[in-house]
């Protein structure tokens, strides 16, 4: 029966399974979200703005802060993607299975995004209000996050696959993956700033979309290779 599974069928199966597993460990998903909110809330306190004339600075740094927090939250949650399956032997089975490994990986990435990136996207408007972000900028921020957070999950997958089972864990993955995420950060935050200064923001979003498409095509395959390297 398994061999008759189409690629989309396989994708749906993997996504469903990972989501089910994630729901059983709701705490993991929620802690990432809480981390995101906390980090964003810490910035005004650390930077020393929030009241009076300096409140404008808050609005200026908002897109950068939200995006950096999204990056960090995404990195934090990467361990979840493969480690549970690696530890109980499921991953080994996945590598041996006749089904396409890249599609399997894509499913895992999608599930990961749904449990880490998507909550961030939904939380962002609330945080935007914390920073007094006008609705136009807020909209572009959210749109950017919708396009960009999947890329973070995809790039993170490559890092997670390469560092499977290693000590040093989360910090090592972040060290490897964060430099690669910089274009996403630049265009995502840049789009919001473009709106703020009345310039064209669509180009930024288009570039984000282009990166997202390229990542969707390339990262599952690269991640599959990385998994094979880590598991042989």
């Amino acid at each position: 029966m398994m061999n008759k599974l189409s690629l989309t069928g396989l994708l749906a199966l993997v996504v469903r399974r990972d989501l089910l597993l994630a729901m059983r460990r709701r705490a993991d998903v929620l802690t990432t979200l809480v981390f995101f909110v906390m980090v964003v809330s810490l910035f005004p306190l650390g930077v020393g703005v929030g009241q009076g004339p300096e409140a404008q600075m808050l609005t200026k740094i908002a897109p950068g802060v939200v995006w950096v927090a999204a990056l960090l939250a995404s990195m934090l949650s990467l361990g979840r993607m493969f480690s549970a399956d690696y530890l109980d032997g499921t991953l080994e089975q996945m590598l041996l299975a006749p089904q396409s490994l890249p599609v399997l990986v894509l499913g895992k990435i999608l599930a990961h995004w749904m449990t880490s990136g998507l909550p961030l996207v939904l939380m962002a408007p609330v945080l935007g209000l914390q920073f007094n972000l006008p609705s136009g900028q807020l909209g572009v921020l959210v749109l950017g996050l919708v396009l960009g957070t999947p890329v973070l999950s995809m790039l993170g997958a490559v890092g997670a696959a390469l560092t499977l089972g290693l000590r040093g864990g989360g910090v090592l993955v972040s060290l490897l993956v964060l430099p690669l995420c910089i274009p996403v950060l630049i265009f995502g935050a840049g789009a919001v700033e473009a709106v703020a200064s009345g310039m064209d923001y669509v180009a930024h979003l288009k570039l984000l979309a282009a990166i997202a498409v390229a990542a969707t095509v390339l990262t599952p395959w690269v991640t599959a290779q990385a998994l094979r390297i880590s598991m042989e």
Binding site: L162, P179, I182, E193, I211, S230, E232
Partner: protein, 244 residues
């Protein structure tokens, strides 16, 4: 004449070859450094707009070019290692990484000391310097990943994949930062605002070749130690005269 290209892909033969070549490159490097520094620091005229601080470009520009060039060569060896499964390719990639990282640091450091007297700030977040900083992170990531994996084969292959992914990203990162930079700073700082006289060009060329020869010498010497370490259980290493 049939050339046995794969003769030198055996660690033992390459070890000997590297040992013979390295001193020559080191000697070339020393001579070229002497020539380049003499012309650059002494003979070449003072720049009209930037004064004498511009002389830093004679080390800054070669170091930057080399930092990027070495990364590409490293990624190339990484790819060869993954495709042909040759251990020596992976060893070369690992030998190149520290030299590449150090050149990147030199580029950043000398760039900062050039920037301060010329444009008033040690650091400027312009496209080149920022991309250079990210390149340093990529090098460090490569070295860190290789160091974190105990199994040598997995370490080689994982870091090789990382190097290749990184090299694809370098142009993307560069262009994204450049875009970000033009938006944020309008007319950007142009580090090439030095009119190039003939003597300046000669000095720059000499220094570039010097750094290149130096990098090759360092890499060859380093790979010799890596070969010895990895092949230490083989007979040719155990019976080496140096190890007696």
């Amino acid at each position: 004449m049939a050339i046995n290209w794969f003769k030198y892909s055996a660690p033992s033969t390459f070890y000997a070859l590297a040992g013979k070549l390295a001193p020559w490159f080191a000697a070339f490097a020393a001579i070229l450094f002497a020539v380049g520094l003499y012309i650059g620091l002494y003979v070449a005229p003072t720049d009209a707009t930037q004064g004498d601080a511009y002389r830093i470009i004679y080390i800054h520009v070669p170091a930057s070019i080399l930092s990027m060039f070495i990364y590409l060569v490293m990624a190339g060896y990484a790819a060869l290692g993954l495709i042909f499964n040759t251990r020596l390719s992976a060893m070369m990639a690992n030998a190149l990484a520290p030299t590449g990282a150090l050149f990147t640091f030199i580029a950043l450091w000398t760039g900062a000391f050039w920037g301060k007297p010329t444009w008033g700030a040690y650091w400027a977040w312009d496209a080149r310097m920022t991309s250079e900083l990210i390149l340093l992170f990529l090098y460090l990531g490569f070295i860190a990943l290789h160091a974190s994996i105990d199994d040598p084969r997995r370490a080689d292959r994982a870091s090789a994949l990382l190097a290749i992914v990184g090299s694809v990203n370098v142009p993307i990162i560069y262009y994204s930062v450049r875009w970000w930079n033009t938006i944020h700073q309008g007319a950007t700082i142009k580090p090439t605002g030095v009119s190039m006289e003939a003597t300046m060009q000669k000095a720059l060329l000499a220094m570039f070749l010097a750094c290149w020869a130096y990098a090759i010498a360092m890499t060859l010497w380093r790979v010799r130690s890596i070969i010895l370490e990895r092949e230490r259980t083989t007979q040719w290493v155990q019976e080496m005269p140096e190890a007696k």
